[in-house]
């Protein structure tokens, strides 16, 4: 990969590592991870799914509306390369989603993904030893547009992310993992609730509310999940001045 990408990549690893210490906010981390993947790896879009401990996957981050819909579609139809990656614990590479064998294997997914403008997908499992806690999924617009080097780098980023989520290299007990996954997913719910509150107060869409939250979070150095909690219990000043403070 070109030197300039190496430099950005190195910075990304440092950035990710930085988030693992003080002031760490998991939701912001996961959203940032999907965005960095898109920037660095020159894919179109990225989505991140986490397991909820009951056998279902939950969508936690998506870099575009199109990828959000395709990920949700897979979950709701229980069909797709991202689900297969989660279940098998292995990377799933689909070079050309419009190919006949792909449509035969995942008919509903293939139609939806092509409809959203995606031609290739790489699903990377998030693993800690024997346990798969989710997947990071990269979508591109061109058939065969996936660089093998991209897959390797993405794997490394995913490994860092998995450690970030589990926050303990030596996490042996399954219960510890389960607990931390529950905490991650609960954070996500808090953020959705805060989005709804802001959306109604300001008469904007939940997506706009989320952008506002992230912007405010960055500008005021307030971790995203905590800011969401502030919105919910009425102590946040976000939205009071319609972003003028940002």
């Amino acid at each position: 990969m070109a030197a300039i990408v190496d430099e950005r990549l190195a910075r990304t690893f440092v950035e990710l590592a930085d988030t693992l210490v003080g002031g760490f906010d998991l939701m912001e981390f996961l959203h940032m991870l999907t965005e960095r993947c898109v920037e660095l790896l020159e894919v179109d879009a990225a989505g991140l799914l986490l397991a909820d401990g009951r056998g279902a996957l939950q969508l936690v981050a998506a870099s575009t509306e199109q990828v959000r819909l395709v990920e949700l579609f897979q979950i709701q139809n229980d069909e797709g390369p991202c689900l297969d990656s989660y279940r098998t614990g292995r990377q799933v590479i689909v070079r050309d989603i419009s190919a006949a064998d792909v449509a035969a294997q995942w008919p509903r997914f293939a139609a939806a993904a092509v409809g959203m403008g995606f031609a290739n997908v790489l699903a990377i499992p998030m693993r800690l030893r024997d346990q798969v806690i989710g997947t990071l999924n990269l979508f591109g617009p061109e058939p065969d547009g996936l660089d093998p080097a991209v897959a390797r780098v993405a794997s490394a980023l995913v490994d860092v992310a998995t450690i970030g989520i589990l926050q303990e290299r030596a996490a042996r007990e399954q219960e510890l993992v389960a607990g931390q996954l529950q905490a991650a997913l609960n954070s996500r719910v808090i953020i959705e609730q805060a989005k709804g509150i802001l959306a109604e107060r300001l008469q904007i869409t939940p997506a706009e509310a989320f952008m506002m939250l992230r912007q405010f979070s960055r500008n005021n150095h307030r971790p995203l999940t905590q800011l969401a909690g502030d919105v919910i219990n009425g102590t946040a000043s976000i939205g009071a001045v319609d972003g003028a403070e940002s």
Partner: protein, 239 residues
């Protein structure tokens, strides 16, 4: 599949229901003891107003553990569950340094493993479910997955008991349980502003509107988020 697990757990709970009233957390506790390989189960409601209110204990020791945690402020279920993660203690004795005022008495009374799960959805925390075992040992992955579903159903029952919809004929909380789409939580936030009520009350009202109208909770939530439906303080929902 997650849906199959939820259906199975609900069947267990429905089968453990006794009496003429609506299904409640009592059935959840009884089914947990029967099916999860635990020796006791209890549920307590949590609210800003009342604090902590024990609702049901399957046996005397469960009730005692609840009381002990309340008075000492220590123990797996005594914490704030600020992060929403369950507190799973496979070997209670090993946790004596963490809860010195609670563990010795709990162990002496016969509890050797305890598992506490918040009944929670984001910032809504309605209660806690506690399980104990007389022998130490962790929950298996299967058991833990089931426990989480038990907790989901218990949360649904707490909310639906508050609104009265659990008394409706044909009631089953599975619908509200299986839908964890973001719209449900966003709609909860929106409704809380529309009605000027807490998130918990807003979710109670959202679920009640869905069940009473025979609609899926997620569908009603989608209507709210797309602004085709509002909840007004004066009446019920307006479309």
């Amino acid at each position: 599949m997650a849906r199959d697990r939820a259906v199975r757990v609900w069947e267990w709970i429905a089968a453990a229901h006794e009496g003429d009233g609506p299904v409640s957390v009592a059935a959840v506790c009884r089914a947990a003891v029967l099916r999860l390989g635990v020796d006791g189960a209890s549920v307590a409601a949590v609210s800003a107003a009342v604090g902590r209110e024990p609702l049901f204990a399957s046996d005397e020791l469960s009730g005692l553990l609840e009381e002990l945690q309340f008075t000492t402020g220590e123990g797996p279920a005594a914490g704030e569950f600020r992060l929403g993660a369950p507190v799973l203690v496979a070997d209670l004795e090993s946790a004596v340094a963490r809860w010195p005022g609670f563990v010795p008495e709990a162990v002496a009374a016969g509890a050797r493993a305890m598992f506490a799960v918040p009944l929670q959805a984001g910032a809504i925390r309605a209660g806690v479910m506690s399980l104990y075992r007389a022998v130490p040992g962790p929950l298996s992955a299967e058991e833990l997955a089931d426990v989480l579903v038990f907790a989901d159903i218990a949360l649904g029952l707490l909310l639906d008991t508050a609104s009265g919809v659990s008394r409706l004929p044909g009631y089953g909380p599975l619908d509200g349980l299986s839908d964890s789409r973001a719209v449900v939580y966003q709609a909860t936030g929106m409704i809380s502003v529309q009605l000027g009520v807490s998130l918990e009350e807003a979710l109670v009202r959202l679920r009640a509107r869905a069940f009473a109208g025979g609609a899926a909770v997620g569908d009603v939530a989608a209507e709210v988020v797309s602004r085709r439906m509002r909840f007004d303080p004066g009446a019920g929902a307006n479309t």
